[in-house]
């Protein structure tokens, strides 16, 4: 046993650049910033609603601006990626054993897609 094993330092800021799987992970994590920003937008809208009809229509107007539409579109794309990246790992976190065998992972994933579609549809119909 020697007295000086060599320790390789890991960069605290650029470690994820060393492998594609770490970049993929960071891409998933970065999506949270967009979702975080969108929840702030919703809180802002709620504040506008509390301030009366004029403030709220100002808020809605700003959403309709090109910048507002662009932001919503970006958030939509990022949220879809965020959701997919989590749905595909659900069988790992929530395995279901029926009798002796485990339910195949794709059934669990597809059940999530199905539930997602149903909830989206209800919200869309309700919104219209």
């Amino acid at each position: 046993m020697n007295s000086k094993p060599y320790v390789r330092e890991v960069s605290k800021t650029t470690w994820f650049l060393s492998h594609p799987r770490y970049k993929r992970y960071m891409a998933r994590e970065v999506t949270c910033i967009f979702i975080f920003a969108y929840t702030f937008l919703l809180v802002w809208g709620l504040g506008a609603l509390a301030n009366g009809p004029e403030a709220f229509s100002g808020f809605v107007e700003s959403l309709r601006s090109p910048l507002g539409v662009l932001f919503s579109l970006a958030v939509l794309v990022v949220t879809v990626y965020h959701s997919l990246s989590w749905f595909i790992v659900t069988p790992q976190a929530m395995p279901i054993q029926r009798g002796e065998e485990f339910v195949p992972g794709n059934i669990i994933v597809n059940a999530h897609y199905g539930a997602w579609a149903v909830v989206s549809l209800i919200i869309l119909i309700w919104g219209i």
């Binding site: 020697n2 060599y6 799987r21 770490y22 994590e29 069988p91």
Partner: protein
Amino acid sequence: MSELQKRQIQLEVLRYNPETDTAPRYQTYSVPCLEEWVVLDALNYIKDHLDPTLSYRWSCHMAVCGSCGMMVNGEPKLACKAFIHEYKEGQIKVEPMANFPIERDLVTSVEDFITKLASVKPYLIPKEDKPISAGEFKQTPAELKKFKQYTLCINCMLCYAACPQYALVPEFLGPAAISMAHRYNQDSRDGGRDQRQEVVASDEGVWECSFVGACSEVCPKHVDPAGALQQVKVASTIDWYKEHLMPWMKK
């Protein structure tokens, strides 16, 4: 029978001698490899014919002992399972497992893992003592299936070499140790979960995991440590809710 084909492979191997070196360096060996060779065969060729000073660990040559874990072209691999023919470029970089201190050449210091593994009590702790005369603890095939995949772990530590969370927070208990705790927690014959939770559900236990999933991607035995850790998180969260919202549920 056709003549066995040989291919000249350049093996760029990390060298570190703690007695003379202040930092690791790389040494390239030109090795005549047979197509069916694995990286371990090439290392053995170097040791036998080119440079007897090269140090590395190995034993079984059949992906059972878990000794020959190393980085092959930057990927955590068992050297006995990394086939030469999969590296078309003819150049292979071999380094000791990432995230572990280097003892010498490709040999790493594994004390940290051994200590962590022992801390989760990776053995059966029966619910109640019973004399041998009372017979064995019985288990159905379904109960066995629940944890069987985790028993395939060979403690090769490739999951630690792949885990960026372990690289950044060395105190992290890590994938294999927590998976092993989960393996015994899931065992119908075991009653030791409360004892393991003290370590497993601590800040430096499962909550350091951010589900990168690299551990499961590199596991040579197709164990799913990432899955085990998420299941441990779910169970620990349920514990928390039971304790805080339904204290009367507490045993």
